[in-house]
């Protein structure tokens, strides 16, 4: 396969040396997964570029059990990620929302919410409602959690969730400064992963590249730690400064080249688990570059691919599969 020299819409030249380095990941992906590559467009956003659009109604949506509220109000997000989610702040409301969504043709639901001051998404009162969504309504049900204790791991398992998603941070300073959790550390994230595995959850950890005010700091350590727990999949996202608090908004996100190196590290650390690029990453010309590097680094999927990426995937011999689901469902036998 010939590695690409340039690409329409990219604002600065592609780093050829890096592309060749990334190709190692491409080969790993091909050996373990063949030529299929997934392109996701979950229902919380209308997304249409020239070569990628899913015109059917939403099939997979996000629900927040805290509405727009988050006690942590981390610097990088300030709860804005919750704003587009459907609020369901009581178990009864969650059941009703699930029924309404099911009636509208939605097939899957990501249950998320803001954290308390200990970094926990308080899902405890919702176990029975989650079980109802899963067992009675037959919805694909995933939960995006914060830190996890034994009760949460057990309760979610008994509720029958399909997969548990969790942001994993690999640096104590980031946990203290960005997440406002000075009393927590990387060890707490490690223990959470261990508990989820102990209860036989399908786990799909997320790593936010550039979380430390746009700098790459704990990402490699986070991936190394995650890889010890045999995850079912890994989602990589990139910090979006404009989502954050005012002083964070003007900071540049990590460069596509910095992100690409993290993509490759993830691919090589987890050669047999799907590695996908999630929906959260900055818009703009840099995204085209980032997505191109991701393809060459051998990721299994990209959410909301930049313009031209799906076409390019075909040009380099890959077989795109378009999905209306959340990228974390890559670990489920549904796509």
């Amino acid at each position: 396969m010939r590695i690409i020299q340039n690409f329409e819409g990219v604002s600065s030249p592609l780093n050829q040396e890096l592309l060749e380095e990334l190709f190692e990941g491409f080969k790993v992906r091909e050996e373990n997964f063949g030529k299929k590559v997934y392109f996701y467009s979950p229902g919380f956003k209308h997304y249409q570029v020239e070569d990628f659009y899913i015109s059917a109604g939403p099939k997979f949506v996000d629900v927040s059990i805290t509405g727009k509220n988050c006690e942590l109000m981390c610097d990088h997000c300030a709860s804005k990620i919750l704003w587009h989610m459907i609020p369901a702040t009581t178990p009864e409301e969650l059941k009703r929302v699930g029924e309404e969504l099911k009636a509208k043709g939605v097939e899957g639901i990501l249950i998320s919410g803001g954290s308390n001051k200990d970094g926990v998404v308080e899902l405890y009162p919702f176990f029975e409602a989650i079980e109802y969504l899963k067992r009675e309504l037959g919805l694909i049900t995933t939960c995006h959690v914060g830190l996890v204790d034994r009760d949460l791991a057990k309760g979610l398992k008994e509720a029958g969730v399909d997969a548990v998603l969790m942001d994993v941070i690999g640096d104590d300073r980031t946990i203290a400064e960005v997440y406002k959790l000075p009393h927590k550390s990387v060890k707490d994230y490690e223990e959470s992963l261990a508990l989820l595995k102990e209860y036989n959850h399908r786990i799909v950890p997320h790593v936010i590249i550039g979380l430390h005010y746009g700098k790459v700091l704990g990402e490699y350590r986070a991936i190394d730690m995650i890889s010890k727990f045999d995850p079912d999949g890994l989602v990589l996202v990139v910090v979006m400064p404009y989502y954050g608090k005012t002083r964070f908004q003007l900071l540049p996100p990590p460069t596509p080249e910095e992100c690409a190196k993290v993509f490759l590290h993830a691919r090589l650390s987890l050669p047999r688990a799907p590695v996908v690029i999630g929906c959260a990453r900055p818009a703009g010309p840099e995204r085209i570059k980032m997505d191109l590097y991701a393809l060459y680094a051998g990721v299994n999927g990209i959410t909301f691919p930049a313009e031209g990426i799906l076409t390019h995937a075909k040009e380099i011999g890959l077989e795109p599969v378009v999905s209306p689901n959340c990228c974390s469902t890559v670990v489920l036998p549904i796509n």
Partner: protein, 151 residues
């Protein structure tokens, strides 16, 4: 004569041609070119715009094909050419700061200026004046839109 119509806070200038489905507008300029942009309703539905791409000057765009693309946190989509023709000017300010469209969709937030190939033909598909107002009202009611401008 009124220069604009307002409904649920949404401003609709009366000297523009509209495609209601895509919420885009066209202004006829004295030099024979046309200017295109997103309506007030369109900017509200999209939300605060974060990224814009506009085709290069000199590109020939067929009617209905993308001449630009815009992206917000909850919406990303094309701006299709309402008239066929050549791109003669891009709004560089919108490229640098796309949310100008949110503040001033008919003024500073224009997107592209084009030299039309067959203006008379293409204008037949667009709505103007009372017809535009009627369809815009239906659209605003159907989607229950209340317009707000970021400041």
């Amino acid at each position: 004569m009124e220069k604009e119509w307002e409904y649920n806070g949404c401003i609709i200038p009366l000297d523009l041609y509209y495609e209601i489905e895509t919420q885009t507008w066209v202004r006829l300029n004295e030099d024979g070119t046309v200017t295109m942009g997103l309506t007030d309703v369109g900017q509200v539905r999209a939300g605060r715009l974060l990224h814009a791409r506009i085709k290069d000057v000199g590109k020939y765009i067929k009617k209905g094909k993308p001449v630009a693309s815009l992206e917000s946190g909850k919406w990303a989509g094309p701006i299709n050419a309402l008239v066929e023709g050549e791109v003669v000017e891009r709004n560089e300010r919108v490229l640098e700061q796309p949310d100008i469209i949110n503040y001033d969709p008919y003024g500073e937030g224009w997107i592209v200026r084009m030299k039309p190939a067959d203006l008379e033909r293409d204008l037949k598909d667009l709505l103007y004046g009372p017809q535009a107002i009627e369809k815009m009202r239906e659209y605003i009611d159907e989607w229950d839109i209340i317009c707000m401008r970021c400041t």
